[in-house]
Subunit: 323 residues, 2 copies
């Protein structure tokens, strides 16, 4: 636009931030300190994609996140499982019991208060999710699995896009080598992240999990819960927000069809930070496609999407200028 | 004796075997093949100890052992916990649930049939165990623990010496590094050993655990149980067996007091192999002491015990000769 028309139709401020994958620990403080420098009417994020080469999406919600580590400590040292097995608590057993106690048999989280701040989906929102194409058989086939599983009363899409989760990302205790070692380890560990939806707050969820662990810790050993740095509020932007209306207009022009209203099971914590610190919503306007291997080796971006994206961004700025 | 008296009072055959710590996979076949070469009236094992520098023990039972590994496999690859969390089974959760399902809240093993072949202790055997000194406070203090735990209805000594166990020796899944990785791992693993008492059999116990895992495996993923090479039958020798009577006589002379009748929570699988293959009991006649760091760095053996043991072995052989 600058080259072709000599000027931009609206004022633009760019914000490049390189710590997204480690939880952006410094950005909230930085934005708070420089509110005037970042003052704006709307944020546009290029972190996003489109449904396919021929269909667009409007991203209306992202899940939040919090992380924690559980450490179970028993005896002073590892012990001989023959000499001590059966007479004292095994930290590996205690960890397994703690993790098991966090879900019921139907995949619902059993931590007291966990769902208190979850805003239920409206019938309209459920209908919007159901309108987005989803082939469960293909989904399972891609994963090499035979069945889905999750909170009863929700579709697979709803579970991933609009319900909170508590997932173990890692756990370890004792001997992991070849063969047998008759050890009774004195430590066991697990890493957990929870995905959150409106109006859950990361700090409160960590507190609830910590209280659950304390309540379920058997006597005679020590269990600690450490909050991890990764943290982000859930984010929702109304589908009919003026920023989204403009994005939808442009996408209709680009693809000739109505964009799907989608949510993401993942998290882009800065969307919540912009809302908190600058009081502005973020609309997603990106052109990645699902087969481009996000975060994987050989991740790529189509050259054709560069061309399409550049043109679309020009359109977007012009429409913003029209108000 | 050979040097001092020129001849031995009984015939002795020596058997040195170097695979004990890896489960002696070759010895049963070897003994079966050379029964005549090994034919004897009694086996004497130097793998054992005494109660203290001034008190002796008669070892009347050792627990058996079997080992297995559980492998849970889910999707084709590790997945993004935001994009898939909450919609499919997490192998780490499934493993935790499987492990938890193997004990009740009182530490009793819940695997169907697990206790079927356990021979209950007689009142006399329980009394013999109770007669052996045990200071629970000192036991906990040594371990740095605040409470013991185990199968209800049994003392700590009974749990370790005369009841079977199922202990996780190791488990692992997903991310174990610093910080957070929002991965939904596609595998989870655990290593288990069971200590067995009469008349439990290692092969049957592995089958029972395998059946339990199969029954508790949720649909949609694969769980396999692999038996490990380590395997040994529980071993009991009557306290009043003639071999033990001779051992007790010698110990009375050495220490001037009645030896304690003790059992071991650990396993010496060859005792069961000698019984099966050669039809002879093994009596334990060793002079190690508890503070000598068995299997630990800086393990040692008192020089005074060498002297005492040599003299005691001479006594033992002479008494055997008396019949």
């Amino acid at each position: 636009l600058l080259k072709g028309e000599g000027s931009l139709p609206v004022n633009i401020k760019f914000c490049f931030e390189g710590q997204e994958e480690i939880g952006s620990p410094q950005i909230p403080g930085f934005l708070a300190k420089h509110k005037e420098l970042f003052a704006c009417d709307l944020a546009v994020s290029a972190d996003g994609g489109q449904w396919s080469n021929s269909e667009g999406i409007l991203l209306v919600a992202l899940r939040g996140i919090c992380g924690l580590q559980i450490d179970v400590k028993g005896a002073k040292t590892d012990l001989h499982s023959g000499m001590y097995g059966g007479s004292i608590r095994n930290p590996a057993h205690v960890l397994a019991e703690l993790l098991t106690s966090m879900h019921d048999a139907n995949g619902r989280i059993t931590i007291a208060g966990f769902y208190d701040d979850v805003v239920d989906l409206t019938p309209e929102e459920r209908a919007a999710i159901a309108r987005v194409p989803f082939d469960e058989e293909l989904y399972l086939d891609d994963l090499g699995l035979e069945a889905t599983f999750g909170e009863a009363g929700f579709t697979t899409r709803e579970r991933v896009w609009a319900r909170p989760t508590l997932e173990v990302n890692g756990m370890w205790s004792g001997f992991q080598g070849e063969g047998v070692k008759t050890v009774l380890a004195n430590e066991a560990h697990a890493k957990i992240t929870c995905r959150l939806v409106s109006h859950q707050r990361p700090g409160k969820i960590v507190e609830l999990v910590t209280a659950h662990v304390a309540k379920h810790t058997p006597p005679g050993l020590t269990v600690t819960v450490s909050p991890q740095q990764t943290s982000g509020k859930p984010y929702t932007v109304p589908a009919d927000h003026w920023g989204n209306a403009v994005v939808a207009d442009v996408l209709r022009e680009v693809y000739g069809s109505e964009p799907y209203h989608v949510r993401s099971g993942g998290s882009i914590p800065i969307t919540g930070v912009f809302l908190d610190e600058l009081g502005v919503y973020t609309v997603s306007f990106g052109f990645g496609l699902d087969d481009e291997g996000f975060h994987a080796p050989n991740e790529f971006f189509r050259l054709s999407s560069f061309v399409k994206g550049q043109a679309a961004y020009c359109q977007l700025l012009k429409r913003f200028a029209k108000g």
